[in-house]
């Protein structure tokens, strides 16, 4: 196995953990909060899920920068200036900023959750498609539209789950 293949595996594992944990964090939170009470056991489950998400982000960032080094040392630097690469870097920066804003309670949870879930999936999609003809600004416009759509979808789902049961 080459060093490059190891980096690819690390990058994929980081993405899988991050996307999976972000998805389940949203599912668990929506389910646990359906009675407007998150008890201690539910809090522990959420805490473990967020730890898995942070582990995924750590693996993603370390393997991502290792890729940059690999490209730099092998003189394949054209990747470092591609729009999809910078869009991915922006998405990762948004993930970090979003976590900080959620921690300080500046950002409402509903918006933060939509940003987090969308960002993980956008990072995954950008990683899969690799190079694209879209410009950096176009990718970010799609990203913002996706956040809005996901935000409204989550709001709709939460409203349905919170709806009074018909007897």
């Amino acid at each position: 196995m080459t060093f490059y293949e190891l980096l690819v595996i690390m990058h994929i594992v980081g993405t899988v953990l991050g996307v999976g944990a972000a998805t389940f964090a949203e599912i668990y939170y929506t389910r646990f909060n359906s009675d407007d009470i998150v008890n201690d056991d539910e809090r522990k489950v959420l805490s473990i899920t967020y730890t898995v998400m942070r582990t995924g982000l750590f693996l993603l960032v370390i393997s991502g920068f290792s890729f940059l080094l690999y490209f730099r040392l092998t003189e394949h630097v054209e990747t470092l200036t591609s729009p999809s690469f910078w869009a991915k870097m922006t998405v990762v920066a948004v993930l970090v900023g979003n976590a900080l804003l959620l921690q300080t309670r500046i950002l409402p949870f509903a918006i933060g959750a939509a940003v987090s879930l969308t960002s993980w999936y956008v990072a995954l999609i950008l990683g899969i498609i690799g190079t694209t003809s879209a410009t950096y600004v176009e990718i970010l416009v799609y990203y913002v539209i996706a956040i809005v759509l996901v935000g409204f979808s989550l709001r709709f789902i939460r409203a349905r789950i919170h709806a009074p049961k018909k007897i």
């Binding site: 920068f65 290792s66 730099r72 470092l80 200036t81």
Partner: protein, 148 residues
């Protein structure tokens, strides 16, 4: 590039990125009302060690290789601004980072014995500044590498 220089570049980038990540951890904990200051100060001092490691390895790389082999290629290439603006800015702002990191580590060590809400908030703000500088420096480094 020799193997030693390649190893130094790898250490510079990875130790810098991990140190930035550690400042992110410090900030996330300092934003809590009652952080575990023992853990926070340990992470903060680890970030100091990594920033100095990143600093010294990059200094050797810059003095012995970058100026003579990389800089002329960037200046002759399509985006000389990668050196004239981004590298020049990065190399000066980066000088601050280890010392800002030391200030954060000292403050968190003081907080271990003297928990103080105002100092916690001030340290969190300083850590936010260090984090912003770190991310800016890392992004500039990518731009410089991509302009060769």
């Amino acid at each position: 590039m020799t193997t030693t220089l390649a190893a130094l570049l790898i250490i510079h980038v990875l130790s810098g990125v991990v140190a930035i990540g550690m400042h992110n951890v410090v900030l996330m904990h300092l934003l809590k009302k009652a952080p575990n200051y023992v853990f926070v100060s340990r992470v903060a001092w680890s970030a100091v060690a990594l920033f100095f490691l990143s600093w010294t390895t990059s200094a050797y790389y810059y003095v012995t290789y970058y100026g003579s082999a990389v800089k002329p290629r960037i200046l002759a290439g399509a985006t000389p601004v990668a050196h004239t603006f981004f590298m020049e800015t990065k190399e000066h702002i980066f000088l601050l980072l280890p010392f800002v990191a030391i200030s954060i580590a000292l403050a968190t060590t003081y907080l271990r014995a003297n928990a103080d809400g105002r100092l916690r908030k001030s340290t969190a703000f300083l850590t936010f500044i260090a984090l912003t500088i770190g991310i800016t420096v890392a992004a500039s480094g990518i731009l410089v590498s991509g302009s060769i």
